[in-house]
Amino acid sequence: MAAVSVRVCRTLLAGMTSMFAVGLSGAGAQTTIDIGLMGPFSGPWAEHGQLMRIGAEMAIEDINKQGGIKSLGGAKLNLVVADTGPSIETTTNAAQRLLSQRGLSAFMCCFLSSFSLAASEIGERQQVPMLTFSYSDELVRRGYKYIFRDSSGADIQVRAAIKLLQGQAAANGRKIESAALIGDNTGATVSYFKSLNEVLPQNSVKIVLNRVWTPPLTDAIPVALALRDANPDIIFLGATTFDDSVAIVRGLNAARVKKLMLGNGAQYITPEYLQAMGAAQVEGLMTTQGTAITKDTYAADFLKRFRERTKTSWTVHDTTSVYSESWIIKEALEKAASTDPKKVRDAISSLHITTPPPTAFNGSEIKFDVNGQNTLAPPFIVQWQNGLPVLVTPAEVAVAPLKWPS
């Protein structure tokens, strides 16, 4: 009896082993491919992380619904999410964990430039391609091979904004001869102000005030009063946290500083921002964006689906950039026909995307230079008009013309 039992066990074991082996040999038709998303899902920038996540989830649902990665046997994409937390230190730890423990083909990162810069060090070292929409130009000026930015950075945005606004000023019989720079000392703002310090004097614009703080800003009124005294023609806003971006515009309105104002990012155009400020307080306020809902029909359809999903009227570049980047990764996986991050990196660097979805949000074709910058990416400026943030530049994809603040 005992001998029979042993024989039965051996047979079962052999059967299970062979089944396992067959399972492994069938792994050539891979069922899922992990791609990463790092963002601030907690801490003062968490709302932006949440918007990024929605963009990634919508893209992956769309890609998987359309049959996944065809060159890899219809493999489905799987999103692996990592929280950067509130600081560079927590971002570094999260990136190390994400990239060393998961076999990612590529990842997207991280909203705040300081965080993207930190994560890019790890991505480059671990040789996993990273896509980003962060503004700091340092991201694509260090000769790294694995870092790609599909949208425009601070320098491109600043140069285009000055050109556009000086043109608009001339058309309205005005001049932009002086500027004030006020903002925090996070990576994106530092890069933004660095570009402004170079570009403004080149365009005969004098910088009459420069105020930089470490967030959170304790009281916006002294800054607003200094601005009132300096009386610049244009104010460049670089507050990155929600409370600071609310407080500074609230303070400027209180001090009756009615000037042309240009912010640097999505924090000035979220629904919560409108809720906190009210439509009258934000009217005319502009901000730069890396990507946007352009007048392309694909983007319009995306916005409709976003509204149905979130019950929110509009979205910002946190969502559209990550949506677009997920599709860029999809195209790279198709081209590489491999999940190996090195091959995916090579595929990204040689991509030339000319059709939506990505072009519907990037407003251009996508082609990366040797530094990983999409050189065709235009700068976007969005302006509050009658309680809605609308794209006002570039003119080819804008949904409304810029309104000069009265």
Binding site: P44, T214, R250, A254
Partner: protein, 291 residues
């Protein structure tokens, strides 16, 4: 630099100090009576902010009217924490207390993240975006009302601690728990009560703060260091000292912005902190033997 600019900085500092005072008073009361450093204090403030947000947006009741009821509710939550968790930790084991309150802080933060999500939740009242402008000064009405409400509550707290039997029992327990027990004070009950008052004050402060700052799960991180600076400056365990320390912190933050680049605002705060502790290691109002 004009006189108006200097006055504006002083007024801004006083408004900040008024809010910080409420937060610092609760923290120092808990430490003074129980010898517990409550790292979750800022999270009770955060819960007060969310409670204010939920009730105001749901029922349309002004947060200024909700401050005391919400403070009461958070005092009850404080009671649960004191009796359910802190009393289980060996008395005098500061490491265990520290880890426990830090753990509670993380749990509350993450619970808020799960329940409310990461999106900032602003409360907008008619006074949120309004400014009072006496003598060319700009005073945000929400901050002003919050500061005034805070001062009223601080006066009530002072009267409670000095004029009522329970308040005097708290002070006696803070001075010498053994002697307090000897004269018939229920020390255990007094500890719980002190924790309730401390967390209740944080809840009141949160409800007042939400009138000018958005509620967010991690908002406490912006305040916790300030609270500790204020109570150490004033002298650990001294409510009057913590109040004074809070105003010093507010004024230093505000005035240093006039004299130095804004980026050095908090550096200046720590410079003043170190200088005061060099001269008075026990803090401005602390007793030397307590330190």
């Amino acid at each position: 630099m004009s006189l108006t600019t200097i006055l504006q900085a002083i007024v801004g500092g006083l408004l900040l100090g008024g809010i910080y005072a409420l937060l610092a008073a609760g923290l120092t009361l808990i430490f003074g009576v129980m010898r517990v450093i409550n790292f979750a204090q800022a999270e009770f403030m955060m819960l007060g902010m969310f409670a204010g947000y939920v009730i105001t947006t749901g029922l349309g009741i002004d947060p200024l009217l909700l401050a005391l009821p919400i403070g009461g509710a958070l005092a009850l939550l404080g009671m649960v924490m004191a009796q359910g968790l802190l009393e289980r930790v060996p008395r005098g084991d500061h490491n265990a207390q520290l880890i426990l309150t830090l753990g509670v802080s993380l749990v509350l933060q993450n619970l808020a993240l799960v329940v409310f999500g990461p999106t900032p939740r602003p409360v907008v009242r008619p006074y949120t975006n309004s400014y009072w402008t006496p003598f060319e000064l700009f005073i945000n009405e929400a901050r002003l009302f919050a500061c005034l409400a805070s001062l009223v509550i601080m006066i009530a707290l002072y009267l409670f601690l000095t004029r009522t039997w329970t308040g005097r029992a708290m002070r006696a327990t803070a001075d010498d728990p053994v002697a307090a027990g000897g004269v018939g004070i229920n020390v255990r009950r007094t500890h719980v009560l002190a924790f309730m008052v401390g967390t209740g004050l944080a809840g009141v402060a949160g409800t007042l703060i939400v009138t000018f700052m958005a509620a967010a799960p991690s908002i406490g991180n912006d305040f916790i260091i300030i609270m500790f600076l204020a109570i150490v400056l004033g002298g650990l365990g001294s409510v009057a000292g913590a109040t004074f320390g809070a105003f010093v912190v507010g004024l230093v933050q505000s005035i240093s912005g006039l004299l130095l680049p804004l980026q050095l605002q908090n550096v200046m705060l720590f410079v003043v902190f170190v200088l005061i502790l060099l001269v008075r290691p026990q803090g401005l109002f602390g007793l030397r033997q307590r330190v």
